[in-house]
């Protein structure tokens, strides 16, 4: 083989290797520039008659971006808000972009961007663009209460949603419950149950289910703590472990949370809590769900 051919054979794999290096160094900046340069309003002008198709393409990109950042991106979601903004500028009636976008933005890392203010802003934009859509208004009410802890506004928005055609009858009573009982766990459970029942199969349903399982885990942890106290009252000392409760016949099943991870027992305080390594564990939420 001639020298030229050898050089060619050797250079072919160099191209992707160099590209990988460039992507690793510049990839993030390039993507951010792109999102900044092309706003939804500009794209609308560039594609008259095809706005919905371009919105679809950007939505696919948003979903892929969210998925890839969640798995490989270390929970960095800088482009998420601009992408959702582009999608909803291109198609202001794409309900799913507001609803899922708000979840992607509001949930705590690594599930979401941990930016509930922007999530709420996306839902507010959805409500502005679709004033008769009760689902978006309902989600805005839920998010104001659940993620921002704003019970007054959350309840007001839910009351507005309840008055729209097609809204479920229980929205009004839920708004009243939020207003008068504030952020108790039962209210939170009603909200996520409502979200779970309405949602079709997909991330929205899974997210609502995760919240419900988390609330169940909190209930179970509290019940276990009560059993520890009852054991202490009866024997005069705290158990050394939760297994000891089981051996004493106080506890029938293994003390695991709904994800299958054992609960953590603090012998000093005599309290039971969700393991930080459990997929259900999350830091204290606003809205008083813990």
């Amino acid at each position: 083989m001639s020298l030229g051919r050898w050089a060619f054979v050797l250079l072919v794999p160099v191209v992707p290797l160099v590209q990988r290096q460039i992507d690793a160094r510049l990839g993030v900046h390039r993507a951010q520039e792109e999102a900044l340069y092309l706003t939804g309003k500009q794209l609308r002008r560039l594609a008259p008659g095809f706005e919905d198709l371009v919105a679809d393409l950007y939505w696919l990109r948003t979903v892929q971006y969210y998925g890839s950042q969640r798995i490989w991106g270390g929970g960095h979601y800088q482009l998420l808000a601009p992408l959702i903004d582009v999608v909803t500028d291109l198609d202001p009636r794409l309900e799913i972009a507001y609803r899922y976008g708000a979840i992607f933005l509001s949930e705590k890392p690594p599930v979401g961007a941990g930016d509930p203010q922007t999530g709420v802003a996306i839902l507010e934009k959805g409500v502005r663009n679709n004033p008769l859509n009760w689902r978006l208004r309902q989600d805005l009410g839920f998010f104001l209460f659940t993620f921002l802890g704003d019970t007054k506004r959350g309840a007001d928005v839910l009351m507005e949603a309840a008055r729209l055609p097609g809204a479920p009858f229980w929205l009004e009573s839920l708004a009243a419950q939020i207003l008068y009982k504030g952020g108790d766990r039962e209210t939170s459970r009603r909200i996520w149950k409502g979200m779970y029942e309405q949602a079709e199969e997909g991330p929205m349903k899974y997210n609502a289910l995760a919240h419900l399982r988390y609330l169940d885990a909190l209930d179970e942890a509290e019940a276990l703590t009560r059993l520890v106290r009852a054991y202490e009252d009866r024997t005069g000392r705290k158990p050394d472990s939760l297994e000891q409760l089981r051996a004493a016949g106080v506890l029938r099943a293994a003390p695991v949370d709904p994800s299958g991870k054992p609960f953590v027992y603090d012998r000093e305080k005599g309290t039971v809590s969700i393991d930080r390594k459990s997929e259900l564990w999350r830091p204290l939420e606003t809205g008083g769900t813990q």
């Binding site: 008659g49 095809f50 919905d52 679809d56 696919l60 979903v63 079709e200 997909g202």
Partner: protein, 258 residues
């Protein structure tokens, strides 16, 4: 009258055969691939937006393929015949120039009808394969899209009767693109405040408004499309087509072909 219609139909049939020979309908293969791939992938990629994306993609592809065919086949309908000198033996026969123009228009119109009909069937099949509910409203968007394509053919035919294929293509593309930006032309004063009203309004009404024929977004969002809307769009298309074809006939009649 009857023989005149027969001659128009004969030219139309020839035009249709010509487009088939030119492998214009090959775009259907591309459309089929696009629909199959989107039907298979969209469910996983889009989070339950597969039905909407398949509709958007199918309707947009129909419009894009149709417009490309209408422009690039349309611009050759007359000018190519002149450039190849195949028009002269035709006109030596008892065939009026207006019959030739109308036949060419009808022939390419029929090609587009076949094209759009097959693509519509493909779109419905893809939607059925993804278990989407049958939505007859899509046909309303397809109908108005077809009217828009007929208008593109008429414009291409007019330019084709006036000049060479190359110039005809440039002129038609400019008019089609401008017609899609008609809303921007109407509101140009917001961007360029110095623009006189008579210019922006004059251009807005003179240029073909292709946004009129675009019901894609409405049907995909399940908005009602009343029959009266379809009636007005049909009337607009008929009036504009009559004007454009009338000018094309006059130009072609007065053109010195020797």
């Amino acid at each position: 009258m009857g023989s005149g219609l027969n001659r128009i139909l004969a030219v139309a049939a020839n035009t249709y055969r010509e487009t088939v020979r030119e492998r214009v309908l090959y775009n259907l293969v591309l459309f089929a691939v696009l629909m199959t791939v989107s039907g298979l992938l969209m469910k996983q990629l889009s989070i339950r937006q597969d039905e909407r994306i398949i509709k958007d993609l199918g309707l947009a592809a129909m419009e894009m393929f149709g417009t490309l065919i209408a422009v690039f086949m349309g611009v050759g309908l007359v000018s190519k015949e002149i450039e190849r000198r195949s028009l002269y033996p035709l006109l030596a026969k008892p065939l009026d120039r207006s019959e030739f123009i109308l036949g060419r228009f009808a022939g390419l119109g029929f090609t587009l009808l076949v094209n759009v009909a097959v693509m519509t069937a493909g779109l419905y099949l893809t939607l059925a394969a993804t278990h989407a509910v049958f939505d007859p409203n899509l046909l309303k968007a397809v109908y108005t899209m077809f009217l828009g394509l007929l208008l593109v053919v008429a414009l291409a035919l007019l330019f084709s009767a006036l000049s060479s294929s190359m110039l005809a293509a440039v002129g038609t593309v400019i008019l089609v693109v401008a017609g899609h930006f008609s809303d921007i032309i109407r509101n140009v004063k917001q961007v360029a405040p110095g623009t006189p009203d008579w210019l922006s309004q004059g251009l807005y009404y003179a240029l073909p408004n292709f946004r009129n024929f675009d019901l894609k977004s409405r049907v995909v969002h399940f908005d009602p499309v009343p029959g009266s809307d379809l009636g007005w769009i049909t009337l607009y298309a008929a009036a504009y087509l009559a004007v454009v074809l009338g000018i094309a006939l006059t130009v072609f009649r007065s053109r010195d072909l020797v």
